[in-house]
Amino acid sequence: MKKIFCDIKKCMHCRRCELACYIKNADVRDIFEAVKLAEPPVKNIELIQMSDNSMPFICRQCDEPLCVDACISGALYIDKKLNYVCLDKTKCVGCWSCIMRCPHGSIRVSKHTALKCDNCVSKEKPECVNACPTGALALNEND
């Protein structure tokens, strides 16, 4: 299964990945439209300042996803074609069992449902990867 990876030597901490994810999740064209929304959009990728470096964090697309096992509604599922862990927001009832279980803290709350990264399954490439100006982010086969 492919996962999003980061070459931290190349990461400039510019946060364009975060912006791209905001825009995608808000389903708007650009950041100017996104900031005008009544409810601020939520991002799935997060640049986190660790003690020695900062690096982006995102859903790990686990091989044994605990979030899927925890989901009481079947909203979380494994996509048949690419094996990505995906979320069907129309099924989610907002019980937060997935948040209780995700060991990486990768699931967010957005407009009363859960929100998680699905590697932008409906697009050719994830938006964060497209947006990364240095090529630090890449969607690669799990190594």
């Binding site: 980061c6 070459d7 009481i72 509604s73 937060w96 069992s97 967010r108 190594d143």
Partner: protein
């Protein structure tokens, strides 16, 4: 041909069937259920009554799940006995089916409480879809309702009643709400925030149902106080459906006893979910954890052992269940709430964090530099990582000093776990 039989078409049974099929694509898999139709999630019943989701959305698997996985579903028929000698189960229509390995995933039933003065159409329980339909029908005729029991299911029912526009009373025998899920202080905090939505009566019970012109008019409480309500829904916990196992002579204590591979006292019979007893990861005691997540987890472990262990080359390669941790998650009257582990007894240190003026509380219970339990109310972002620190028994001494402040971040939690982020392994060298 080998045949796996699973009794129970719900969280544990369905997860097990799916898992067996992943390992073994030729053997026969049969699921037997006394409920009609495809599997559905009981956890969704309150949302179904609210009208938030439809009947078909109760089904947590895709349409065609059984066909795609080549699983035979025998539904609407009860299994009445297990003949261990001939390795057969007997159905209520007298038919029998032989098994190679059997999984008992018969779940649990709502405890019923007989209230004095109870007549038809006053007291309800919620466990299966028919119960939900009956409650939805009755709700059309009442303006207020009481819930007996303030556990997770009770609180979900109370929330549903509120969403349906009813006046709600929550009556708990214990001195707090959510006593399995929260410590007294967290429960008090939460009660303070939901007090506007429902009347919470703790340390109380019902003594009698009151009628006026043969219609339910209200309840009399133990302290003689009266409340006006048109119906009462009891949510006083669940009883495991162990009759089949007991009658077959399997070892049963609180639930069906299983070893760490989820095997019962019979080598060819496994049990999982609400009906099975498992070891608590923290206390080492045998307990039933009546939760969806645990049912799925146990169903999968049982399935792996059932499907893999016959082949000689895999003997001794059992999948071991490390044990279950109590963990609960819910939206309690629009306040998200997640807790795990133990909040009583063995703790030596408690770390509190509150956001003034907001319904935000975090409590972390620590002993010997390990997290034994935690509660997050209002802000649940860190619950998953806290849970992992708890389950993996990590030493948290490096971050303990920020547990009671806003300085606790995802970064220091991830660092404590040793999480390397999304750097590919090539670059890690």
């Amino acid at each position: 041909m080998k045949r796996f039989i699973i009794i129970g078409n719900s969280a544990a049974g369905v997860a097990a069937a799916e898992e067996i099929r992943k390992i073994d694509n030729s053997s026969e898999i049969v699921i037997v259920s006394d409920e009609k139709g495809n599997a559905y999630s009981k956890c969704l019943l309150t949302y179904y009554i609210m009208g938030k989701i439809s009947r078909s959305q109760l089904e947590f698997k895709d349409t065609g799940f059984y066909e795609k996985n080549n699983i035979k579903l025998v539904s609407g028929i009860k299994a009445v006995s297990i003949n261990r000698k001939d390795k057969k189960i007997v159905l209520e229509n007298k038919e029998d089916i032989s098994y190679h390995k059997l999984l008992i995933a018969t779940g649990s039933s709502a405890k019923v409480q007989n209230i004095s003065g109870q007549k038809e159409g006053a007291a309800y329980t919620l466990r299966v879809i028919e119960d939900a339909d009956k409650i939805a029908e009755k709700l059309k005729t009442v303006d207020s309702a009481a819930v007996l029991g303030a556990g997770l299911i009770g609180m979900k029912i109370a929330h549903m009643l509120k969403e349906k526009g009813k006046k709600v009373f929550i009556i708990a025998r214990s001195n707090q709400i959510l006593s399995q899920m929260l410590d007294a202080e967290s429960a008090g905090f939460l009660t303070g925030h939901i007090g506007k939505e429902a009347t919470v009566l703790t340390g109380q019970d019902v003594s009698e149902i009151l009628y006026s012109n043969s219609k339910m008019a209200g309840l009399r409480l133990l302290n003689n106080e009266k409340i006006d309500c048109g119906m009462v829904i009891t949510a006083k916990g669940v009883t495991p459906n162990t009759e089949l196992a007991r009658a077959a002579g399997l070892v049963v204590d609180k639930g069906i006893s299983v070893d760490e591979t989820m095997k019962t006292s019979d080598n060819d019979i496994y049990a999982a979910g609400d009906v099975a007893e498992s070891t608590d990861l923290l206390s080492g005691k045998k307990e039933i954890k009546a939760l969806w997540t645990t049912a799925v987890e146990q169903g999968k472990i049982a399935a792996r052992n059932m499907a893999r262990l016959d082949s000689a080359e895999q003997a001794g390669q059992e999948i071991i269940y490390a044990g279950a941790v109590s963990m609960n998650s819910m939206e309690c009257f629009s306040i998200p709430c997640i807790s795990a582990g133990s909040m009583h007894g063995e703790t030596t240190e408690v770390f509190d964090y509150r956001k003034p003026g907001q319904a935000v509380l975090r409590r972390i219970f620590v002993k010997d530099n390990r997290i034994f339990g935690f509660v997050t109310i209002g802000d649940i972002r860190f619950a998953g990582i806290l849970n992992r620190l708890l389950c993996e028994k990590k030493d948290i001494s490096s971050i303990k000093n920020v547990f009671n402040s806003a300085k606790l971040t995802r970064a220091n939690l991830l660092e404590c776990i040793g999480e390397q982020g999304i750097i590919s392994s090539m670059e890690k060298q």
